[in-house]
């Protein structure tokens, strides 16, 4: 139903793009919540970011407005920065515990 309405409201391309973005975001978040490997978890966040990028791009295209595109550049940059950070962190953690299992890190709890 939603699909149909979106299609009616905004045309095929936008709806498809948004659906794709929604699917990506959902996969990302599902993966983030279910996977234990730190690197895979990080990749899932990247998936979510990509989903947002698609949203931005789609709406930017829809409105014929460039600020969406501009935002994409910045998002990519931030994602890159985060990737650097994440990798550094993962290396650090791996050195300490020799595992990338996120649930191994549970010293801080109640």
């Amino acid at each position: 139903m939603t699909v149909g309405m979106l299609a009616m409201a905004g045309g095929v391309s936008l709806a498809h793009a948004l659906l794709l973005a929604g699917a990506l975001f959902s996969i990302g978040i599902a993966g983030f919540l279910s996977r234990r490997n730190l690197i895979v978890m990080f990749l899932c966040t990247e998936l979510m970011f990509q989903a947002v990028i698609i949203v931005m791009a789609a709406f930017g295209h829809w409105y014929w407005d460039f600020s969406g595109q501009v935002f994409i550049i910045f998002i990519l940059t931030i994602a890159a920065a985060e990737a650097a950070l994440a990798l550094a962190l993962v290396v650090l953690l791996h050195r300490r515990r020799a595992t990338l299992d996120a649930s191994a890190w549970r010293e801080l709890r109640e």
Binding site: L18, A21, F25, G28, I29, F32, L38, M41, F42, T45, M48, F49, A51, V52, V55, M56, A58, F59, G60, W62, Y63, D65, S67, G68, V70, F71, F74, I75, I78, A81, E82, L85, A86, L89, L92, L93, R96, R97, A102, W105, R106, E107, L108, R109, E110
Partner: protein, 512 residues
């Protein structure tokens, strides 16, 4: 456009300071490395001065401030707040990064190796994050806001990781980072939907679009509402508000005390400011407009949940930083009262409260940073017992800061809370004020432990020997903040005027 650059002078100064720190931290000269906190302080003072300078310029722009921003004068208020709390934070953090490494170098056991030194990075991240906070306040569109928020938080991830080189700190960094990434994704998705709903990234234009739509259809539309809700929830992570608060206890607990002090204030302030900016797009101003009911209800629920969960969570804690982490969550709940109260009295109360809370929070961590037990940080609340017998000044500082956080008259925290309550009542949200009152009473339970154990305890935690840490900075910070908490209310009148000015000056209509 150049006009805006001019208004960014303070942030540019911060950036410069960060670069200077990063570079000079690599110096082989111990003196230079020791001077890093000094550089940070100088940078902050310069930024403060610059904010005064650019905003008081005798030009047409001066009357409206940073005309392109949503709240043109907000930065005029936020930069001083950030600088003042920043200076104290510098003192708290001075000398703790790489302490053992530097000690070893000083003792001649190790050669100085720039690749192993984190000090320069730490201070530059410190300044960058504060710069991000300053930038947040002058944001005029979604991109800027996002970048500013990320600039605020990304360095903090690193700071948590390198602030203390042990397992829990790294675990804290891991949790902070990964959960932060997820929250950022949610925030971004919200931004994307907002963009989709309005077709613009500029806050002023979005406000025009949405208020026009609200004028026609009676609502801003569901896409915008969902987008706004997601953005709010994303920002809630920075603010440590429910349900995005769950990381806070672990992270605050794991990070080193000085870093926790930083975490307790800077991202939270950025989040609060970001929330004020985001909500402005609904056309909600002092003179009129209102929040969409869904957003209002969400904020209301979030506020109540946050303060309640924070306070009751803190009740069970034995570890002092974890307890303070929960306390910081509860303060986000109080801040949200001001947000709910809205532009005008509510937002200006938020600004005052941020300062009061920032000082009080920093003071508690300053005390913790001043103390070590067995070469480690203080872990358990009970370790504070009988502190007065050995270090009366620190015990008193702990008591005063806890009292201020509790909102006890006549300390600064009380006035902050009072202004929030007045704003809440004045905006018709009496119930949430009452809930906040009950929450304050609950919070008395654990804050009083921080008062009672140091001052009245008989040293039950005597098994652990508590000594003063070698660096004097935290002690000065504790004294300074406590003086500020006691005497701060005397400056309340001008501060409130300033905050009121910062909030009531809004860009009325976009230029287009």
């Amino acid at each position: 456009m150049m006009d805006r650059i001019w208004f960014l002078l303070p942030e540019l100064i911060m950036l410069t300071g960060a670069v200077v720190c990063a570079v000079s931290g690599l110096s082989r000269d111990v003196g230079v490395r020791r001077a890093l906190p000094g550089i940070a302080i100088i940078t902050l003072i310069l930024a403060y001065a610059a904010s005064g300078f650019v905003y008081e310029m005798p030009s047409d722009e001066a009357s409206v401030g940073d005309a392109a921003a949503v709240f043109p004068w907000l930065a005029r208020m936020m930069i001083p707040i950030a600088s003042v709390v920043g200076v104290v934070l510098v003192l708290v953090q001075s000398g703790f990064v790489d302490r053992s490494y530097e000690d070893a170098v000083a003792a001649g056991r190790l050669q100085f190796d720039p690749l192993r030194s984190n000090r320069g990075e730490f201070w530059s991240f410190f300044l960058l994050s504060l710069g991000g906070l300053m930038l947040t306040s002058s944001a005029s569109d979604l991109i800027w806001l996002f970048l500013a928020l990320e600039l605020t938080s990304l360095p903090t991830y690193v700071m948590v990781a390198i602030g203390r080189k042990d397992r829990v700190a790294q675990e804290a960094a891991m949790k902070y980072f990964f959960l932060g990434a997820m929250a950022a994704a949610i925030l971004l998705l919200g931004f994307g939907l907002l963009y989709g709903a309005t077709g613009t990234m500029n806050f002023a234009e979005m406000r025009d679009v949405l208020s026009a739509r609200a004028g026609e259809t009676g609502s801003i539309g569901s896409l915008a509402t969902i987008g706004l809700l997601m953005s709010v929830l994303g920002v809630a992570y920075k603010l440590a508000a429910a349900p995005m608060h769950l990381y806070a206890a672990d992270v605050y607990d794991g990070a080193a005390a000085p870093v926790t002090a930083f975490l307790g204030f800077v991202p939270k302030a950025a989040g609060a400011v970001g929330l004020m900016l985001l909500l402005s797009i609904t056309g909600w101003t002092e003179s009129g407009g209102s929040l969409p009911p869904a957003v209002l209800v969400t904020l209301w629920v979030i506020a109540v949940m946050t303060m309640t969960l924070g306070n009751i969570g803190a009740l069970l804690q034995d570890r002092v930083k974890r307890m303070l982490g929960y306390s910081s969550i509860s303060h986000s709940g109080y801040i949200l009262i001001g947000i709910i109260a809205g532009p005008g009295a509510g937002y200006s109360a938020v600004l005052i409260y941020l300062l009061a809370y920032g000082l009080g929070n920093t003071a508690t961590f300053a005390v913790l940073a001043s103390l070590r037990s067995g070469g480690q940080e203080l872990e358990r609340v009970d370790d504070l017992a009988g502190l007065r017998e050995r270090h009366p000044g620190l015990a008193w500082a702990m008591a005063i800061s806890a009292g201020s956080l509790l909102g006890f008259p006549p300390l600064f925290g009380f006035w902050g809370k009072l202004l929030l309550f007045i704003a809440g009542v004045a905006s018709g949200h009496l119930l949430i004020v009452i809930i906040a009152g009950i929450n304050s009473a609950i919070s008395a339970w654990y804050y009083l432990r921080l008062v009672a154990l140091p001052l009245t305890g008989q040293g039950e935690g005597a098994g652990v020997t508590v000594e003063r840490s070698s660096s004097v900075g935290p002690r000065y910070a504790a004294i300074l903040t406590c003086v500020a908490l006691i005497l701060g209310p005397l400056l309340l009148m001008p501060m409130l005027d300033e905050a009121d000015h910062a909030i009531t000056q809004t860009t009325s209509v976009s230029e287009e």
